[in-house]
């Protein structure tokens, strides 16, 4: 296996696997990412796939892509442009040609570049010429025919044979980047335990691709990307949905409560429910409810019954849950609602990312109905913000919405495994048995948090519900003054959470010409843009918000430290409007993108430079 020509060392490299939505590109990308992560590279991934499970074959609309950025240095984004593209058909090339670095390597399945497929993808006859890719490093590989050849003695049906051609491409990439095959082979052995012929077929094709890449003249050099210099510790690769699920379980563990999750499948949030359903070993109760409303109302029931309760969804599901979320507000029960945002309105772009649910989360309910809101900003820190959402909900007796999005949910990165002993202990205000004169809406005078009396406890029998309650006794009250007071109390209770959250940090310059402002999943792109601008000598800082409601106590101060403010978000300016509402004295410039895609670092830098030059 060592007929290598030249070994080139790279700091980082971006690889994009692309094919029909049935070609197994998501798996291919995931396997490559896992191998890179296990070898100690820092990574960031970006799965980008159509909503249809098997979208029309061979068309640009049906292309499924998985981009992975691996590096020796700190990797914050999946990369703007790819160094290597694997295109399983002409449509995959068409969809990705404009996302390539000049001179990038393109490996394509030449067996699939038939006149029919070429035209289906929207080319006339010569895709390379038509997209002006002649100067690129083009490797037309007979992936389909060599896959068939590799498996000809195995007596497999053609469908199974063709399904493994993605492993041929993966084998080529492994050779190109000097990666061992063993982790992927272990995966096959694990995954297809009961189908040894499938294990054998996949291994054969993987090796065939590896040896093919070694043999052909087209690859002049191979590359290494050394392990990243990252903080010491034990790491694992994790995506945002799994990290969210685990953060919720961790919060329940630190609170000493069982976790209950009522939920209904919805893209891109379903992975959280799937992961939690696996975790019966940790006592997690999952109810796959009959609809979104039952998802949240079963959880409210469980919260009333004394469990740590959560429900997971995406924007359309949150819309259905909004009445019930108001019920959790008025009954002042702890509840975590995870909103994995996607493109909207309505069904919108189910598999694409967007940050356009902010206003819905903050105010999309009838009545004065405040909830606490936090947002995760990287796949791995979904763990910490899910934990934090749980902590705030349980300790402040309030619903908390955790916002992530499709980009975080499906993206993955190395996650430094935390020491559970060092995670804060969560102390919900459970009312002990034997408490005299218990009243359901009696509160802590400092935090305004009410006590949580758990059904089954003798002597604490009480009734709560969606009707307005007397501020003392908790009985139904139609008294006008009481309603106004209760409305203020509910608002103030959530506002007081500000005393229990950290101050807003500024990264980069602490004061200067331009403050980049973001929230949620845009962090990687924004911090990369800020660092590149700083390297060019610009006085730029970044305030990236994870606490949305309440905003950190020093927000005003942070905003005041820079001459200009640029709020970057994947919507039409919702967070900018929210800041303007809260801090009207500043001028907020906006950078918005609504394409179902993350920002590129270049887009942010361009806009920042324009502002700096004005």
């Amino acid at each position: 296996m060592t007929k290598k020509r030249e070994l080139i060392e790279l700091d980082d490299v971006v690889i994009r696997f692309s094919g029909d939505s049935g070609d197994g590109m998501q798996l291919t990308g995931t396997l490559f990412s896992n191998t890179a992560a296990l070898l100690g590279n820092d990574i960031a991934t970006f799965p980008d796939y159509p909503a249809e499970i098997r979208a029309p074959q061979g068309t640009v609309g049906g292309v499924s892509g998985f981009q992975v950025h691996i590096g020796h240095s700190d990797i914050r984004t999946p990369g703007d442009l790819a160094d290597v593209l694997v295109a399983m058909n002409p449509a995959a090339l068409k969809a990705n040609a404009r996302w390539l670095k000049p001179g990038a390597t393109i490996i394509y399945d030449r067996d699939n570049f038939t006149p029919k497929n070429i035209q289906k993808a929207g080319y006339k006859e010569d895709p390379i010429a038509e997209d002006r890719l002649q100067d690129f490093n083009i490797i037309p590989a007979p992936i389909t025919s060599l896959t068939k050849e590799a498996l000809k003695d195995m007596n497999l049906d053609m469908k199974t044979v063709l399904r493994s051609k993605n492993m041929f491409a993966l084998g080529m990439i492994y050779w190109l980047f000097n990666r061992p095959l063993k982790y992927t082979e272990e995966f096959f052995q694990q995954k297809f335990k009961r189908k040894p012929e499938v294990v054998e077929a996949n291994e054969k094709v993987l090796k065939a691709g590896y040896y093919y890449a070694e043999t052909i003249e087209a690859l002049h050099s191979t590359y290494v990307v050394k392990p990243a210099e990252i903080e010491k510790g034990v790491y694992r690769n994790i995506n945002g949905n799994t990290a969210t699920a685990w953060g919720l379980i961790a919060a329940a563990e630190r609170a000493g409560l069982q976790l209950f999750v009522g939920s209904y499948p919805i893209t891109p949030a379903t992975g959280i429910l799937e992961e939690l359903a696996l975790r019966k070993d940790l006592g997690v109760i999952t109810v796959q409810a009959e609809d979104e409303i039952a998802g949240i109302t079963t959880s409210i029931g469980a919260s009333f019954a004394g469990l740590m309760a959560a429900t997971t969804t995406s924007g359309p599901g949150l819309a259905l849950k909004s009445e019930a979320l108001g019920l959790a507000v008025i009954t002042e029960l702890p509840l975590v609602v995870v909103n994995v945002q996607r493109g909207g309105p309505s069904t919108g772009l189910p598999t694409k990312t967007e940050q356009s649910d902010l206003m819905q989360v903050l105010w999309g309910r009838n009545g004065e109905s405040p909830v606490a809101v936090v947002a995760a900003s990287t796949p791995a820190n979904c763990f910490y913000y899910a934990f934090e959402a749980g902590r705030l909900a349980l300790e402040h007796m309030t619903p908390v919405v955790l916002m992530t999005d499709g980009f975080l949910a499906n993206g993955s990165e190395p996650f430094k495994i935390p020491d559970m002993e060092k995670m804060p202990e969560i102390k919900p205000p459970i009312v002990p048995e034997g408490t005299e004169d218990y009243m359901p809406y009696k509160r802590d005078p400092e935090t305004l948090v009410r006590g949580w009396a758990i059904p089954g406890t003798p002597g604490l029998e009480h009734r709560i519900g969606g009707l307005e309650k007397d501020k003392n006794t908790g009985n139904v009250s139609y008294d006008p003054a009481n309603h106004e007071e209760m409305t203020h109390i509910r608002a103030e209770k959530v506002a007081k959470i500000v005393e229990d959250i950290p101050e807003q940090k500024i990264e980069g310059e602490q004061e200067g010409d331009l403050l980049l402002v973001g929230w949620g999943s845009t962090y990687g792109h924004l911090v990369s843009a800020m660092e590149e601008l700083a390297a060019e000598g610009k006085k730029v800082g970044l305030a990236h918000f994870n606490y949305i409601n309440p905003l950190p106590a020093n927000t005003d101060e942070v905003l005041g430290k820079f001459k200009k403010i640029l709020v970057c978000e994947l919507n039409l300016g919702q967070f900018a409007n929210y800041l303007r509402m809260n801090y009207p004295k500043y001028e907020y410039h906006k950078l918005n993108k609504i394409q179902g895609l993350p920002f590129t670092v270049a887009e942010i830098k361009d806009e920042a430079k324009k502002l700096l030059e004005e």
């Binding site: 034990v234 790491y235 070993d281 029931g301 019954a305 469990l307 709560i464």
Partner: protein, 341 residues
């Protein structure tokens, strides 16, 4: 209330909250409240173990009048909230209070799925065939042609029969009673409580204001024995003022016969069996309507089956035992990890 070796003795009063009952004078709900309080007092379950959960509507004010744990939900969601409460803590005795609008219109989905899953709750469906709290619009059980504020020329849609719906949704327990018949209600509620699984009890309830006399044709003192039949296991399906009428199977249908006529004797009359799994006869019984048949009351269907909440916890315990992952730290370190030195 007195406690003796953990055995509790209650009176119905122990289940009355200090809140003034605000239903209209003469509303059937008063009698139902009283029947529930009597039932709970004699079930031998400690008061703190009861959770009474409701949706929205006149009937759904119910939890406020009970001295138990109670939760007044939102419209239609009582069955879903109850599913959460019971699955979270199967040790609680969960009573779901709902109405014909709450359970069969806006909450229809939750009702059929609670029934399908067989969550161990007791669901009391107050059926007055009208929306009372919004002051008189037709409901999914309003009789076809019923004139209400939103059907001034009569409804043109056929109603649901709750029993038919529940059995159709794989229901294992269905009973029917009448608001004013406290003795029968207590008997039926007790059976509902004993049954493990979703026990649906339809209570024919009179709304004095918006649908007064909804059931007068069958509850009227003069005729009720001839127009109702109370079903009890092992007893022949005989009814009538003179106990001379009975039900027989005539081909595929139930038929009313007169004992002593055409050679019919008591031996020919069907004997009730609520425990038979085949829902065929139960379906025919819930569908009986006056004037062709008497309306069936009592426990019509009562079939044992595994409950959802138990199954959930049994599965968790089993997986807990088998899995090497015992806590969050184990999970975090499971699978592929690597060390950065």
């Amino acid at each position: 209330m007195s406690t003796e070796e953990n055995k509790v003795v209650y009176t119905p009063k122990d289940f009355k909250s200090d809140q003034e009952v605000r239903w209209c004078p003469g509303c059937g709900d008063h009698a139902i409240l009283s029947s529930v309080q009597r039932t709970m007092a004699q079930l031998g379950i400690r008061r703190e173990k009861y959770a009474v959960i409701s949706g929205i509507g006149c009937s759904s004010r119910f939890p406020y009048y009970m001295a138990t744990y109670g939760f007044h939900g939102i419209h239609g969601r009582a069955a879903a909230i109850s599913t959460g409460v019971k699955t979270a803590n199967p040790d609680l005795s969960v009573w779901t209070i709902t109405g014909d609008g709450d359970a069969l219109a806006i909450g229809g989905n939750h009702l059929i799925h609670a029934v399908r899953r067989n969550v161990d709750i007791n669901l009391l469906l107050f059926n007055n065939r009208i929306y009372g709290l919004t002051k008189g619009q037709y409901s999914p059980t309003s009789v076809k042609g019923q004139v209400t504020k939103t059907s001034p020329y009569g409804t043109v849609e056929p109603p649901f029969n709750p029993g038919e719906l529940v059995i159709g949704a794989k229901g294992k327990f269905f009973a029917r009673t009448i608001d004013g018949d406290i003795k029968l209600s207590v008997e039926v509620f007790t059976e509902a409580a004993k049954h493990e699984g979703t026990s649906v009890v339809e209570i024919l309830q009179n709304c004095v204001i918006y649908n007064n006399g909804a059931y007068a044709d069958i509850t009227n003192r003069e005729h009720k024995e001839d127009r109702q039949i109370v079903l009890r296991d092992g007893e022949p399906m005989i009814f009538g003022k003179n106990r001379d009428k009975g039900l027989v199977l005539d081909g595929m249908q139930l038929k009313v016969v007169k004992i002593g006529e055409n050679g019919i004797t008591e031996k020919d009359i069907l004997v009730h069996d609520s425990k038979v799994n085949n829902p065929g006869l139960h379906m025919m019984l819930v569908n009986m309507k006056w004037p062709s048949h008497p309306v069936a009351l009592g426990v019509i269907r009562n079939v044992a089956a595994p409950t959802y909440d138990t199954a959930v916890h049994v599965q968790i315990e089993k997986i807990k035992e088998q899995s090497p992952i015992k806590n969050m730290t184990d999970l975090l370190h499971s699978g592929n990890t690597w060390v950065v030195k």
